[in-house]
Symmetry: C2
């Protein structure tokens, strides 16, 4: 592999890394701000590894985005990145091709190149939100404009709670960290982060336990839908809620086993929070050629 | 394109066709029986078009099957095709490579080569059962063993009716012709084919109308799930229930519009009942190379 820079812009933290011959040479991580800071972090990284310029830069960021135009459209938890022409700006700053894709798709690319290296799999982030990236026959499934993999917005409860996307009963509205926190506020009358709801459930609190069980059943149903539709070799999970997999996993797997045929295989990412960074660095080799004009 | 034979084995009828340079030269159609009759139909077809042997044969059949081994496993409505080594038998009979795939996947290949020719789409049969085939970036999504596209077995109502696959609340159990007929038997107390239930609904019968609406809502939800997950350019529908699309379509589209973001495009196949036959003939050019040992 080549001298590549990966940039993973998250709601909370941004990671940049320099990769050569498939190895991560150096990385930096800092609270997410805007373009200026990302630009500076790449400069620092380049001087650290002694490259004049990278051969290409791959950027992963949360949706919504215009992937072909290379523009991050931004969302409430990404205030510094609203309508930022990230591809154009980085290309001008570093004089190399730049590619942009959804962070969950980048994570799937990270798994394809550096992780479990399956040919047919789905990567799913189970965290504040729920996102996914699909690989079929060793190739990324992009969809018509690069938005494929929106697992969190599959409607599984048509009369369910309102999702931030405006629809009702999306998987994300029911089973994500946000969904768990919303259920806790409604039913326990307390504003608690999902992590705390899960901790209380684990400690035996019946109200919290009911909420955790419901989220796990819904998440298992989402995995079952993906399993039937795509017949992957395995589903790879990452994201904050998987840190409690020892507790939540059995409940998810019970629901999945009931709602999918065959023997679904579910594993956790081995790349931890860097899965998206690895994938961003490999994005230049996977970006659809017919979309690349940069 | 080459001199190819397509064979489409359906629950009711079998179709065989001879294709050269992408044109259907001759076809035959007859009630489905077993291997012997299909073999004879191919012989007759070959002598009609004056070929000594085809370059390859593609066979589409209902699941379950072992696609890599080339064996149709058979199901209750395919009694003559239980554990038939169709690939081995036809290869020996006609001295050419033979390929086997799911009928809905073949239909998707038919659409890719002869129909709407999109690069990213899903083909869905809405009939006695519900099946699907997925094309992403101009390539078939096969899944780990060729079973991808089982849209009918996505669970959308975890507490819903029992499906013939043994699970509860599959899309097929709720929204297929079988599901509609089952609902009519339960709620109207009559054994009616789905077609008749739809006709009564159209004529204003309130009980039948409720059943049709529920099936359409569920089918629209299924399309919405596929839309969010795969971001196709369009969804292509075929199968018996689409013959009443002028009546059912608006109800399906209302549910789809409510449960999917963006502007989902749904079209009907232009290839009619021959979509699977066309696709079977093009199967040899799409079968995964790493699976082909024939």
């Amino acid at each position: 592999m080549r001298r590549l820079i990966g940039v993973d812009i998250g709601g909370t933290r941004t990671r940049v890394g320099a990769f050569s011959a498939g190895e991560l040479l150096a990385r930096r991580e800092f609270p997410t701000q805007g373009m200026e800071q990302a630009n500076q972090a790449i400069r620092n990284l380049l001087s650290q590894v002694g490259w004049e310029r990278p051969e290409a830069i791959g950027v992963g960021a949360p949706s919504p985005m215009d992937m072909r135009a290379g523009i991050i459209l931004g969302c409430p938890n990404l205030p510094h990145w609203r309508n930022v022409k990230v591809v154009e700006e980085l290309r001008e700053a570093f004089g190399c091709p730049v590619y942009l894709a959804n962070d969950a798709t980048c994570a799937a690319i990270g798994e394809l190149e550096f992780g479990h290296r399956a040919r047919d799999f789905v990567y799913i982030t189970w965290s504040t939100g729920i996102g996914g990236g699909i690989v079929a026959g060793g190739r990324v499934v992009w969809g018509a404009t690069g938005q494929a993999g929106e697992i969190g917005h599959m409607v599984i409860r048509p009369d369910g709670p309102l999702c931030r996307c405006g629809k009702r009963g999306c998987l994300e509205a029911v089973a994500s960290g946000t969904g768990i926190a919303r259920a806790a506020e409604e039913r326990l009358g307390e504003r608690l982060p999902a992590k705390e709801v899960v901790a209380r459930a684990r400690a035996g609190d019946p109200g919290a336990r009911g909420i955790a069980e419901e989220a796990c059943r819904a998440f298992g149903q989402g995995l079952a839908i993906v399993w039937e539709l795509l017949e992957p070799e395995l589903v790879i999970l990452g994201g904050g809620l998987t840190q409690a997999w020892d507790y939540l996993g059995p409940m998810v797997m019970e629901a999945l086993g009931r709602m999918a045929r065959g023997k679904p295989r579910v594993v956790l990412t081995k790349l931890g929070d860097d899965v998206g960074l690895y994938g961003a660095a490999a994005l230049p080799d996977h970006f659809p050629k017919e979309w690349a004009s940069r």
